[in-house]
Symmetry: C2
Subunit: 413 residues, 2 copies
C-alpha cells in the first residue's frame, strides 16, 4: 500500500502539470478502452454477480452491481462527458495589485492524490477516477469486495487509456486486494500520500471513514432534508414540490424526510398535502395535528424527526412559525439540503440565511441537490462539511490553489 | 471544557447572523475596553513577566511576552483595524442560472467555532479573537501558560466589549485553565464544537497540533523558503532580493533559508551574492562551488538543505538549471514560499507553475509572505495545507459557504 501511495503521488505530480488537451485525450482514450474491453468487463461482472447471488445479496444490491452492454456504454459516455467539461486547473480565482506594484493572482491547482472508497457500484471506478483526473489529481480507488473483479477491469482499461495518451497509468490506482486492512491504511493517509478521502456508499461506510480518517473527508453522513411550507404559500406549488422532493426518488440523499407545515396555514394546506403524499404511495407519520387531518397518518415519535428513511415514508409536523421551523431543522437536520415554500420574500430570505445547510432552496424541490443539476457536469458526491468542499463536489471542488506573485524586484521595507 | 464548547457554539450561531454594523461596533467596543482596562492588563503582564523571569526564560521570550502602554495601544488599534476591514460574510462568491430557471448563488458564511492555541505572545488573544469575530465565528482561545494572566484580562476586556454591544460574550472564550489536558480536548474537537484549529507558535506546538488534531488545522510546520537566481537575472536585483529575503527579519516564516544559483551564472553571480550576504551579517554554508567562490563559506551537508534556520544563516547551492532548482525545492522545501529571480518570462512561468508551494514569487522577496502585504488587512497565520486555506489566512479564509437556490416552483423531472 505504501508503494501504491508513492506511485500515485509521483503520477499526481505529472498530472498536475498536464495540459487540458493531454487530460482530455486521456479521458477519451480511457472511454475507448472501456468500450474495447467490454466483453472482458461484462464477463468479470457476471462472475461478481454470481458470487453476490451465492451470498444471497438483496435484489437492489445485485441491481447496483450488475452491468449490461447499455450500462457499460453509459459508463464510457460519462467519462467522455467529463472530458468535455471546462478544465478547473489554472483558473485565475482572483487577481489584485498592491500599492508597491506586486500583482498577486490566486490560481487553481490540483489537490494531489484523492482516495475514493466505494461499495458495490462499479461505475464509481470510472466516474470518480475520471473526475479526479480532470482536476489534475491521481486517484487511489478502493472497490467494494463485491465489485472487485468488475472494478479491477474498468481500472485496467482506464490505465491503458492513460498509457496510450502518454500520461502515467498510476494516475488511476485500484487497491489490488480485497483485504479490509487496506481501508485502514488509506484512512491513515498512506504516509502522507493521500490528501483527501471521498467515501461513496451507505451510512455505515461514511460513518467509519469520518470517524477514522486522519485526512480530510468530503462526504455527508445523512441527507435529512426538510420542506417547510410557510403560511404564505401557494398550495399547488407546495404540493408539487413536496411530492417531488419526497417521491421522485426516495433513495437519494436529496429526498425529503420531514415536512414542516406552518400552523397558520395548517387548516388549508395540511390535509391536501398529506392526501397527495398518501395518494402517491407514501406512508405518513405525523404529530397530533397531522393525525387529526387524515386518519391514515400514524403517530410519529421524536425518533422520526431524526430518521433518514430513504424510502416512501415521510414525517409530518406542524410548527408554530418560521422561527420554529428553523429551530426544528437546526435541532434535527443534517445540514444537507432544506427548502422553504413561500410567496413571502422576507421569510424566504430569513430561511435561506438562517438555515445552516450546504444547500438551501426557496420554492424548488430538494431533489435538485445534485452536481449535475447545479451545472457542475458531474459530482463525486455531496459534502456537508464546512471546510473546502460543501454541497455538490464537482471538478472545481477537487482543486486547491496557490498564490502567484509577479514582481519587478520588490523587497519588503 | 465541554460546556465551553457548547457556549461557543451557541454564540457562533448568533454571530453568524450578526450584521456588519453589529460586529464592527463590537470590535470597536472591544478595543475601547482593552484601552480602559490598560492598568489592570499591564499589572497582570508584569506578574506574568516576573514569573517568566523567575523561570529564567530567555530575553527573546520575555520580549515576546512583555507589554507596555504603547504595545497595548497597538493591540487595541489592531482590533479597530479589523473593524475597518470589509465583512467577508454574505459575499456572493458565484451566481449562475440554470436552464430550468433556478438561480443558484454561492454565498460566504462563517466557519463556526475556531480554536486558537498559542504560546507566549499575549497580542494573539486580541488579534485572533477579533479576526474570528469579524468573520462571524466564535473563538476558543488557549493561551500559553506564561501569558495566562495577561491573556485572561485581554479576553475579559473583549468579552465586556461584546456585552456592551449586545453580542454574546461567549463569542470569545479563553480556556480558563493552564491545565495541558485542555489542549488535548481542543484537538479532539470538543465533541464537535470546534470546526478548525489554528496553532500560533513554534514548530513543536504546530507539530503536536498537526499530529493529534481530529479537526482541520490551518497552519504551516516550517517556512523552508528558497530563492532561485536564474541564469538570466540582473545581479543587482538578485542581490537586493536575496539579502531582503534572508536578512530583513530572520525569525519570520517567510525568510529565505536556501539560495539556489543557476550554474550558468555562477561565475558572475555567486561570489557577489555570497559577499553581500556575509557583509550583511549572514553566515553562509555552501556546496563546493559556494566554498570555492568565497573562503568564508563553511561546508553544507544535506541536512542544511532541510533546515529552517530562522537565524542569520543561509545555505547556498549551485544547481544545474531550472529543472534542478525545481527538483531541489520539491525534495527539500516545505511548500510555503519560494521565489525565482529572472528576466526570462518563460522560466518564471515554469517556476510559478511547477513549484508546488502556497506562495510562489517572481522577482520579489519571500518576506512578502504575509497577509498584510497581500492586502488581507491582517492574518491569523499562514497555511501550507491544500484544503480550504492556503497561504496567508485572513478573514476571507475564516469563512465557509452555502448554496442558496432561488426557484419558482421547480420540481426535478
Amino acid at each position: 500500500m505504501a508503494d501504491l501511495g508513492r506511485r500515485a503521488r509521483k503520477a499526481a505530480r505529472r498530472l498536475g502539470l498536464a495540459t487540458t488537451d493531454e487530460k482530455n485525450a486521456a479521458l477519451r482514450a480511457m472511454a475507448a478502452c472501456i468500450r474495447e474491453r467490454a466483453p472482458e468487463i461484462l464477463k468479470a461482472n457476471r462472475d461478481d454477480v454470481a458470487e453476490a447471488q451465492s451470498r444471497h445479496q438483496s435484489a437492489s444490491f445485485i441491481d447496483r452491481l450488475a452491468l449490461d452492454p447499455a450500462r457499460l456504454d453509459t459508463i464510457a459516455a460519462a467519462v467522455e462527458d467529463i472530458a468535455a467539461l471546462p478544465d478547473p486547473v489554472g483558473r485565475t480565482l482572483s487577481r489584485f495589485e498592491r500599492p508597491n506594484g506586486l500583482v498577486i493572482e490566486r490560481v487553481a491547482t490540483p489537490l494531489g492524490v484523492i482516495g475514493v472508497i466505494f461499495e458495490s457500484r462499479p461505475n464509481v471506478t470510472a466516474d470518480a477516477g475520471a473526475l479526479c483526473l480532470k482536476a489534475g489529481n491521481a486517484a487511489i480507488l478502493r472497490a467494494g469486495s463485491d465489485s472487485f473483479r468488475t472494478s479491477s477491469l474498468i481500472a485496467e482499461a482506464m490505465r491503458e487509456g492513460l498509457e496510450r495518451s502518454g500520461l502515467p497509468s498510476d494516475a488511476i490506482c485500484l487497491v489490488p486486494t480485497r483485504d479490509r486492512a487496506a481501508v485502514g491504511a488509506m484512512l491513515a493517509g498512506l504516509d502522507g500520500h493521500i490528501d483527501v478521502i471521498v467515501p461513496r456508499g451507505g451510512k455505515s461506510l461514511v460513518a467509519r471513514v469520518q470517524h477514522d480518517a486522519r485526512v480530510p473527508v468530503f462526504a455527508h453522513l445523512e441527507g435529512l432534508c426538510h420542506v417547510f411550507v410557510h403560511k404564505h404559500s401557494d398550495l399547488t406549488m407546495a404540493r408539487n414540490i413536496v411530492v417531488n422532493a419526497k417521491m421522485r426518488r426516495t433513495g437519494v440523499c436529496g429526498s425529503a424526510e420531514t415536512l414542516l407545515v406552518d400552523r397558520a396555514c395548517a387548516d388549508t394546506h395540511l390535509k391536501p398535502l398529506i392526501a397527495t403524499l398518501i395518494d402517491s404511495g407514501c406512508s405518513v407519520r405525523g404529530d397530533d395535528s397531522a393525525q387529526s387531518a387524515d386518519a391514515r397518518v400514524t403517530a410519529a415519535t421524536e425518533e422520526d424527526w431524526r430518521t433518514e428513511y430513504l424510502d416512501a415514508i415521510i414525517a409530518v409536523r406542524v410548527v408554530d412559525d418560521l422561527d420554529a421551523a428553523i429551530a426544528h431543522i437546526e435541532t434535527f437536520g443534517s445540514h444537507h439540503t432544506d427548502c422553504i415554500v413561500t410567496d413571502d420574500s422576507t421569510a424566504a430570505k430569513r430561511f435561506l440565511t438562517e438555515v445552516d445547510s450546504a444547500i438551501v432552496l426557496h420554492n424548488a424541490s430538494t431533489q435538485f441537490a445534485d452536481g449535475g443539476e447545479f451545472g457542475f457536469g458531474a459530482e463525486i458526491g455531496i459534502a456537508t462539511g464546512r471546510m473546502h468542499a460543501r454541497g455538490p463536489v464537482g471538478v472545481e471542488q477537487l482543486t486547491s490553489f496557490k498564490y502567484r506573485v509577479h514582481g519587478s524586484g520588490q523587497t519588503r521595507p
